[in-house]
Amino acid sequence: MPEGKSDVKIGVYICHCGSNIAGTVDVEEVTGFAQEQGSVAVARNYKFMCSEPGQALIKQDIEELGLDGVVVAACSPRMHEPTFRRVCEAAGLNPYRLDMCNIREQCSWVHKNGATEKAKALISAAISRARYLEPLERREVPVVPAALVVGGGIAGIQAALKVADAGRKVYLVEREPSIGGHMIQLDKTFPTLDCSACILTPKMAAVKAHPNIELMTYSEVVDVQGYVGNFKVTIRRKPRYVDESLCTGCGICWEKCPWKAESEFDCGLGQRKAIYTPFPQAVPNVPVIDPEHCVYILRDGKCGACLKFCEREAIDFNQTEKMVEVEVGAIIVATGYDVFDPSAITRLGYERFPNVITSLEFERLCNATGPTGGHIVVNGQEPKSVGIIHCVGSRDRKYHEYCSRVCCMYALKFAHLIREKIEGANVYQFYIDMRCFGKGFEEFYQRAGTEGVTFIRGRPAQVTDLAISEEEQGKLVVVCENTLVGAVMRVPVDMVILCPAMEPRADARDVARLFNLSQSADGFLLERHAKLEPVATASDGVFIVGCVQGPKDIPDTVAQALAGAAEALALIDKGSVELEAATAVVDEAACSGCKICIPLCPYSAITFNEAEKRALINEALCKGCGVCVAACPAAAIVARHFTDQQILAEVEALLVDARPAPAEV
């Protein structure tokens, strides 16, 4: 038995978590074991410790037995540590005298045998640590009453509007020249078939007009400092070469500009000028000059058509990149998704055949503002038959294992639009499973079935132009097993639409690092809890909404955006946040003044008192990582709540069963 403080009284509370823990761990045996440990005044088990009666049990013991420490053996501290800290606090015990012991995620859920023994060891370790836990005081600091929203797609727009409507300042940062995101590229939206632009453009205009929203397009966040409630964010504003305050968006510049480039907005199917707005309803309606295609920039002043024609003299080639710093209390990350590049799957013929297109390209083809004015035309012809291939890069271990969740529905929408625009067109859906789970989705699926669409269950192996019959001449042939019949089919079509996976942004990793977030195995950003904290993250005060967290349709994205806004507002309106009390502190008597710790601190929280030759830690800046603690040669720095003593006691007790019993020695 480790030599602990003999005078402390500890209560141990073992949770059954229904059968989640009790089904694998013998809670009675473990309770008996806990009871025998030194310093343990009481050990109990209960069906759900986190429930009201469970909490009352702990509270009562603290008050009646005068406990100095509490060990709760239940789920991960990441789940319920705040809950039980509140319990302690309410009963008058300092919340830092609590130790959570993880016997669910790291024990009962992962071990078939040996869970009880392991639970005992974990609890013995927690008790040992609890003997040395000390009361700590948390300090409160005020919250900056403003939010940063990163990304101006439907998620970012919706979140920004809601926070702004509540009367809070919002900085909305968008990388592209206009807000709108992927949604503004879409034609109609399933299952109601309302026009995407019609429902989105009013919101985009509202963003521009809102007095509480400061919109920064063509800009990127480059640095984030500070902590929850008090972030300092640096934003790079790329030069537009057009003065936003002078430009009226009259359009004479892009009308007169002689230089053309492929339109990113139209997926390369149409063209734009070197000075351009991505689309007519752009917000802000102020063009940017693309330095890679502008001849004035490329050849030192050899054009200047825009300069000449702009009556407002808004063109400004002297603009340079600007860094802007803002302070916010909360951050909402809504950077969206990328579309998987199907040319990786060569057998499907994307890029080899011009009439194999992606779903996003089809949205542009179908859209009245698109490059063809809404006429579905490939190779100069209206297709009379179309194959739609689902799950391209989704549900495939070689690319993305997950389901992209929207393709089945937009594929049905495509079928409807094609049948509507091209009379008598044959549409074939090559699907594996039809996943139509949302509100009104199944009904839409039924409707598509009655509109003359052929469903072929099977993942196509090949899209080829190798004709083996008269009927296939000049067509694309989709080769696929019709799995419901058990026969390989060759389906000749005029056009193939691929439904590529929604994938994490190419720079998702950089975004994760910038905001101190984690990625899940699929590369999307990780929420704090899959069910109960869908928009919060491991970083307090940073929230993720929309497809940055995983593939989603528009309704789900909007719901998340509003959840993110609510989280940000709850944080801001509370007015203050409690700072972590588990910081490092220098024992001045022990400090030798060697300065080893100073450059190690990632937050520059350590300064040097020249007069006394002692290091000093600023507790407001310290985040409690403990790097300085481990590095201090004089052991003069103490990591509060993770002291050497606490950890060593924990380690020793953790191995209580690994050592021979004293009798055998």
Binding site: I345, T346, R347, T464, D465, L466, I468
Partner: protein
């Protein structure tokens, strides 16, 4: 450059011309080329139908021999390559398979630890020898010759994963273009020729061969990277034609044969007399192509 190579049964038997031309072409490129001593059959696609263990141990023995010779192993046969690389992967990934395979290998006094690396002939020619060296050696460019490269099924997968795209490889195209040929792109360049089905199930095998020949029909010849495919595409054109309702007469060559032609090596050294479908017409086409290009050159020179 020194290599130990594994010819395989097909190249030393029914596709003897593959082996002969391989030797000649490698000599011409100045590559030192020694045959793996005491090699055995890799089991083709047949051993696997009887014994899982033999289908891995037979190829593994050749790898073990290469290991003993402290060398990597090169093969110019795709079927063999497939079996060999499968042995490499499976013994690497599964300890119990590795143990059983070595238990078998012990009967011939060798062991395989996974040290010997496996290379494909195309990989060696393109990435070690280099296309620039190949280009230097060309004395009779294949002007005007339309050539369809046949990568083969076993080629398209693990093989190319080492140095090219698995589903849409292009290395063979590059080699042929270096020789001056016009490369014909066709859709079945990585489709299986049926392998031993041509012997065990003629009707199915011949259909696969027929599909391939039909797809590459507008080429002057097909060039394969596998002696087994070479045998199949050469030997069953009559049967394939019957099934497809046509008559095929497409010369099919091994890749080192066409290299040898471009290098100006003698026909006999390339085994060209051994072909079931005669290949002499190709020389006429090259000559005609050369005449056209030289007259074009002199015309442009006059201007």
């Amino acid at each position: 450059m020194k290599y130990v190579y594994y010819p395989g049964c097909s190249a030393s038997g029914t596709s003897k011309e593959a082996e002969e031309s391989l030797q000649a072409a490698m000599r011409a490129l100045g590559v030192e080329w020694t045959e793996l001593e005491d090699w055995n059959c890799c089991g083709a696609a047949v051993a696997i139908g009887t014994s899982y263990l033999l289908s891995l141990a037979l190829p593994a023995r050749n790898l073990a021999l290469a290991e003993r010779a402290e060398s990597d192993l090169v093969t110019g046969c795709s079927r063999c390559f497939m079996n060999l690389i499968r042995a490499v992967h499976y013994t690497h990934e599964n300890a119990s398979v590795r143990e059983e395979v070595n238990e078998l290998l012990a009967e011939t006094g060798v062991q395989y630890s996974g040290k010997a690396r496996l290379r494909h002939l195309l990989d060696v020619i393109i990435n070690d020898v280099g296309l620039d060296v190949v280009a230097e050696r060309v004395t009779q460019p294949l002007d005007g010759l339309r050539v369809a490269p046949y990568y083969g099924c076993c080629q398209g997968m693990w093989t190319y994963a080492q140095f090219d795209s698995t589903e849409d490889p292009h290395c063979f195209d590059q080699l042929l273009a270096t020789l001056g040929a016009e490369v014909v792109d066709y859709r079945l360049k990585t489709a299986c020729c049926g392998g031993t089905l041509s012997m065990s199930r003629r009707s199915v095998g011949a259909r696969l061969i027929g599909d391939l020949l039909a797809a590459a029909d507008d080429a002057d010849c097909i060039v394969t990277a596998c002696p087994l495919c070479l045998f199949n595409l050469n030997s069953f054109q009559r049967e394939a034609g019957k099934i497809k309702g046509t008559h095929f007469n497409i010369p099919v060559l091994f890749l080192t044969q066409i290299m040898g032609m471009a290098f100006g090596l003698p026909k006999k050294a390339l085994g060209l007399q051994r072909h079931v479908v005669p290949v002499d017409g190709l020389y006429e086409k090259i000559a005609a192509g050369a005449a056209v290009s030289s007259s074009a050159a002199s015309a442009s020179g006059a201007r």
